[in-house]
């Protein structure tokens, strides 16, 4: 029995130049969801609504069983939040921030916080304004991780980090999941990171969720087929084709409903299958967005 850490239903938010439209989302406890979207697609707005920092115009938002934004104070006791546009207090030290957060949250784990200091290579006596961007991100993450929240909400947690720091952060995020009662929602441009550690993946584009499924499903169902058409052959009609590229004799199809039986279907239709390529999450996302946008302009 898996209860939901996050539940969005029919959530809408209207801005003068942007609308979040009828968003529905379910995040089961104990899983990681990666949110992928272009800039301005609505990732940050969705996350802010989740935190109760922005009130939705319509729809139900439940986080850890609490209604947002009404019960945000209670919910935030169990949520760790780090966003890309968040800054700590420059003139104060990391140590001050740590003791400030510790005084608020009873679940603060001192030993764990010290381990994170070592792992992230941070010096507590340093003032925040003296830290590099990567160090600041790690500092903010430390403050969120050390109090062992039930839900971690991260807006671009690895953006701007060097490769070593990225691996450390990914490692710490996965370590959170060792406890099956804890959940992570993160948004990222970095599709490699999302592909590596996410259980669930949600694509968001222009204020709408365009796909949401578990990661293995995505990777199983999307394929790029390279065909060689015989002179008399026709392009076979396959299910789920979202993109047709290449040339007339050498078409390349992208399908989101791949089935191994398709290979023989193609061959029977006179289109020799040269290759069946799996696609990276990035390629899947771009193909998804393109096909949607094309449908909209048609």
């Amino acid at each position: 029995m898996n209860d939901l850490s996050v539940h969005f239903e029919g959530v809408s938010k209207i801005y003068p130049h942007f609308t979040l439209d009828d968003l529905s989302l379910e995040l089961p406890t104990g899983t990681i969801m990666g949110l992928i979207g272009a800039n301005g697609a609505g990732k940050s707005t969705t996350i802010r609504i989740l935190m109760g920092l922005v009130h939705q115009d319509q729809g139900l938002v439940q986080v850890l069983g609490r209604e947002m934004p009404r019960e945000q104070a209670a919910a935030k006791l169990d949520i760790g939040f780090v966003s890309e546009d968040m800054r700590l207090y420059g003139p104060a030290t990391l140590a001050w921030h740590m003791s400030f957060v510790q005084s608020i949250y009873p679940q603060w784990d001192q030993a764990y916080s010290e381990m994170l200091l070592r792992r992230f290579d941070l010096k507590p006596q340093q003032k925040i304004k003296g830290l590099s961007h990567g160090q600041r991100v790690k500092a903010a993450l430390l403050l969120a991780l050390a109090r062992r929240p039930r839900l971690l909400v991260l807006d671009e947690p690895t953006t701007g980090l060097d490769p070593v720091a990225r691996q450390e952060v990914l490692g710490e995020l996965m370590a959170v999941l060792a406890d099956e009662d804890r959940t992570i929602l993160f948004s990222s441009h970095n599709t490699l990171d999302v592909e590596q550690i996410s259980d669930q993946i949600t694509f968001i584009d222009r204020g709408r969720i365009i796909a949401s499924d578990n990661k293995e499903m995505f990777l199983e169902r999307w394929r790029r087929l390279r065909l060689v058409l015989s002179p008399e052959g026709d392009l076979p009609s396959l299910p789920g084709v979202v993109e047709v590229g290449g040339s007339e004799r050498l078409p390349v199809l992208v399908t989101n409903r791949f089935d191994p039986a398709m290979v023989s279907v193609c061959n029977d239709a006179g289109a020799t299958v040269q290759a069946v390529d799996p696609m990276t999450l990035e390629e899947i996302f771009v193909a998804n967005v393109h096909s949607r946008r094309e449908k909209q302009t048609v």
Binding site: G30, T31, I32, Q167, L170, G171, M174, A175, L177, A178, E180, L192, Q196, I197, S198, D199, Q200, N214, K215, E216, L219, N267, T272, V273, P278
Partner: protein, 140 residues
């Protein structure tokens, strides 16, 4: 009981397959003995920094193949099966034979042609072995 599996992001194959292959290898080589406890799905996911769902898929397929056994609430162990080593090799053979059949089809060979190619390969192997034996005898 620590994990020494290594997952590569540049390896073209899906991660769950890499995990399965490496576990199979460990067992076939004898690193992981039969009946031995293996990391739980979550533990392995954390160690490898790979999503739980991927490890879960690998474990499920391995269990379906009879390589490991998952006990409800108690984690997973290597299947306590004396035939395990040969079973693994048998599975490997089946995989490769499927691949041969696929490639044959892609190349447009008839089943007979595919079979004769396989025959050529086994013949070659026998010839090589006989040659090696003779040379060994000659020089010993």
């Amino acid at each position: 009981m620590h994990s020494d599996l290594v997952i590569s992001q540049t390896d073209g194959r899906p991660m769950y397959l890499q995990i399965m292959d490496q576990i199979r290898q460990r067992i076939a080589v004898g690193d992981w003995e039969q009946g031995k406890e293996i990391p739980s799905i979550r533990q392995l996911a954390v160690t490898l920094r790979v999503s739980v769902i991927t490890v879960k898929r690998a474990y499920m397929e391995l269990e379906r193949d009879g390589i490991i056994v998952t006990q409800q609430g108690k984690g997973s162990i290597v299947a306590p099966d004396p035939e395990l080593g040969s079973k693994l090799y048998d599975q490997e053979l089946a995989k490769h034979i499927d691949r041969v059949a696929q490639l044959g089809e892609l190349l447009g060979l008839t089943p007979k042609e595919v079979a004769s190619r396989v025959r050529e390969a086994t013949d070659r192997l026998t010839t090589d072995r006989l040659t090696k034996d003779r040379l060994t005898k000659e020089y010993s």
